[in-house]
């Protein structure tokens, strides 16, 4: 069996707007290893959600996948090139929600308000598996108790509005995992939750991942969640991956100035009251992408005439498994 479960190569996604074409994802390459949790971190508008939506072809007009490849390697069977699948084809429906499923950020809007929790989970089961209604219901009850919902037998007949935010997110997770997917894409799964509930959901995801062997792609803006959940991390900025490594290397010895800046500007629980180091300026809009390295206008290490011209810097391997897209990484001291 292949150790990779998903390989994205040079993915470009653009949106045709009235002001012209905006490229939200600009050449992203990413490899997900089987049975590991991969995190994508970045600020609003960096393209992390668009990247994850492309994997399931969920980009809607005016957006479209411009070029690139997304290859999925199922446990059994031949590799599938997802970008080649027709939007309405049966193979895509089998993958969507079956082999690859997704958890969305808002547990309030991800569930239908007019159907019971049970009917929504059973629908997912019966779309992908040939089972009777009764079997599907039993599977749903079992899944609900597995995600820690007490009294699953009763809860299954309730509507989403009768559940709290944390419970709803558990239902969404149950729905995503009920067909035993090989990849779970989680887009900010804990952002809308309170911190004690977030901790519960994080533990649940970690336990389920260990028990079921699912590979997870976790999209978040919270470096704390990344540190506690992920095995590998990619940092995105303006539609490009700027740094990629295992979680310990990335957070302890980052090499890209943007990653360093992000880590430094976190007010930490361990730090005293002093001025926070911050990154100058703000993220430019996608239609005003600077030439050269996208981070160069805000970068303290940028060299005029070198960093801000021509194409964005390519990803270079500075150590096995540690890639940095920065022309000056060799000149920059290791910082954390």
């Amino acid at each position: 069996m292949q150790t990779e479960v998903l390989i994205i190569e040079d993915l470009r996604v653009c949106f045709d707007t009235e002001e012209g074409t905006v490229r939200a994802v600009d050449g992203v390459s990413l490899t997900m290893q089987r049975g590991r949790i991969m995190g994508i971190v970045g600020e609003s508008g960096c393209g992390k959600s668009v990247t994850s939506y492309s994997i399931l072809q969920l980009i809607q007009t005016p957006g479209r996948i411009e070029s690139g490849s997304i290859r999925f390697y199922p446990r059994d069977g031949d590799p599938v090139e997802i970008t080649d699948l027709d939007e309405r084809s049966d193979p895509l429906f089998q993958i969507r929600g079956g082999k690859i499923s997704m958890i969305f950020q808002e547990p309030m809007t991800a569930l239908s308000p007019v159907h019971t929790v049970g009917s929504q989970i059973c629908e997912a089961i019966r779309l992908h598996q040939d089972v009777t209604e009764e079997e599907a219901r039993q599977r749903a009850v079992q899944m609900l108790s597995q995600v820690g919902i007490p009294g699953a037998e009763q809860r299954i007949d309730q509507y989403p509005f009768e559940l709290s935010g944390g419970m709803r997110q558990r239902v969404v997770i149950a729905m995503a995992l009920v067909c035993d997917p090989e990849i779970l894409i989680a887009d900010e799964p804990t952002t809308a939750l309170d911190v004690t509930i977030q901790a519960q959901i994080m533990r649940l995801m970690k336990d389920l991942q260990r028990d079921m062997g699912t590979s997870i792609l976790l999209i978040t803006h919270d470096l704390g969640v990344i540190a506690q959940l992920c095995d590998d991390v990619a940092v995105m900025y303006l539609g490009r991956i700027v740094e990629q490594a295992d979680v310990r290397t990335l957070l302890k010895a980052p090499r890209h100035p943007y990653t360093m800046g992000l880590l430094k500007s976190l007010p930490s629980l361990a730090m005293d009251k002093e001025r926070l180091p911050s990154i100058e300026g703000s993220v430019p809009s996608l239609s005003e992408r600077p030439p050269g390295c996208p981070f160069s206008p805000r970068c303290p290490y940028a060299v005029p005439g070198q960093c801000d011209v021509a194409d964005p810097p390519p990803m270079e391997q500075v150590a096995p498994g540690h890639g940095v897209a920065c022309l000056r990484h060799a000149d920059i001291e290791d910082g954390s």
């Binding site: 609003s44 901790a199 519960q200 979680v247 976190l266 007010p267 001025r275 926070l276 911050s278 703000s282």
Partner: protein, 334 residues
């Protein structure tokens, strides 16, 4: 700060309750949401007090009741202004208006808190117009001065909010709040909607402005690391009550209330070697249907038999550390 050791604000037994009425035509009262209950604290001039807690714990309600955006159910809000002490909870609209200049609020969402049809000049200058404090070139000058103080350019005056990024919009909101030269500013999740790199800039700005203008802040937030960074003292709220109130260092070094301990342990640490604990089970108590006794007891890992019967009082311990928990009540010493 040193010449005036009187508190600028004293909140005493402040309660904000919302009745729930039946949906039939009789409109009989069927319940009561105790959104904020028995809130007590003092605030010194120049100090920053943090109000932290999870959604629905009453931190925003408390802030609004202090500013009289809500009419408190009971309790006193003693505000010191020009040497005299005024109970804000007793004033009517007319009496409140001159005091409004002294108390301002910075809101969470920089997208919905600015009127999209007004230019930055009109937004920032509006308080001066409402209180007839400036017009013409003086108005223009004060707006320009304020914009520069918050890190915006004078030419931004004629633009509309949509032309600005989230961080810049929050700066506009700050300028609007500070142009009246208030003494008390309530920041309600003022940096929560911002990205990390911009959040750090706004936190620094708030701290600089506090030092320059001698502001007193009440900083409402759910992010403990931000609160730790900016606050002198922190009040932790749970289900409408303050469960622990202590100087920031004390609270983080030795949290006493089981809820505070669990809350601190639940924050995901960005250091992968510091493993987080996933302690707390259950969900936040519903302020419309509180459990008897201490509201936290159904989730509390160290509850005592009488925790489900009597509500603990907020009691002061050495080093200005106030705790509301039976584990620490005097008769529980041994």
């Amino acid at each position: 700060m040193t010449r005036d050791q009187q508190p600028i604000l004293q909140v005493q037994d402040l309660c904000m309750h919302f009745p729930i009425y039946a949906k039939n035509f009789l409109r009989r009262q069927v319940g009561l949401v105790r959104a904020a209950d028995q809130i007590n604290f003092d605030l010194m001039p120049g100090e920053t007090l943090g109000l932290v807690g999870e959604s629905g714990c009453g931190k925003t309600t408390t802030g609004r009741a202090i500013l009289r955006a809500l009419q408190p159910t009971s309790g006193q809000v003693l505000f010191r202004h020009d040497g005299s002490v005024i109970d804000l909870a007793q004033l009517d609209r007319k009496q409140l208006k001159p005091l409004r200049t002294q108390m301002q609020m910075i809101f969470q969402d920089p997208f919905s808190s600015l009127n999209p049809r007004m230019t930055v000049r009109d937004i920032v200058g509006e308080p001066l117009v409402i209180h007839s404090q400036a017009k013409g070139t003086e108005l223009e000058d004060r707006v320009t001065d304020m914009l520069q103080r918050v890190g915006l350019k004078p030419e931004h005056r004629t633009r509309y909010p949509h032309a600005f990024s989230g961080g810049q919009r929050q700066r506009i909101g700050i300028a609007r709040a500070l142009i009246m030269r208030p003494s008390l500013v309530i920041c309600d999740e003022a940096v929560s909607a911002l990205d990390v790199s911009v959040q750090a800039q706004v936190i620094n700005l708030l701290q600089e402005l506090q030092a320059d203008l001698g502001l007193t802040y009440i900083f409402i937030a759910h992010d403990l690391s931000v609160v730790k960074h900016i606050c002198d003292r922190i009040a932790v709220m749970y289900a409408g009550r303050i469960v622990e109130l202590a100087p920031t260092q004390t609270l983080f070094a030795s949290p006493k209330h089981p809820y505070t301990t669990a809350l601190l342990a639940s924050v995901p640490n960005p250091d992968p070697d510091q493993r987080m604990e996933y302690g707390l089970t259950g969900e936040v108590a519903d302020t419309g249907n509180l459990p008897p006794g201490c509201a936290f007891h159904p989730r509390c890992p160290s509850k005592l038999p009488h925790c489900s019967q009597t509500v603990p009082e907020l009691t002061e311990f050495p080093e200005a550390h106030c705790i509301s928990c039976h584990l620490f009540s005097p008769d529980q010493a041994d």
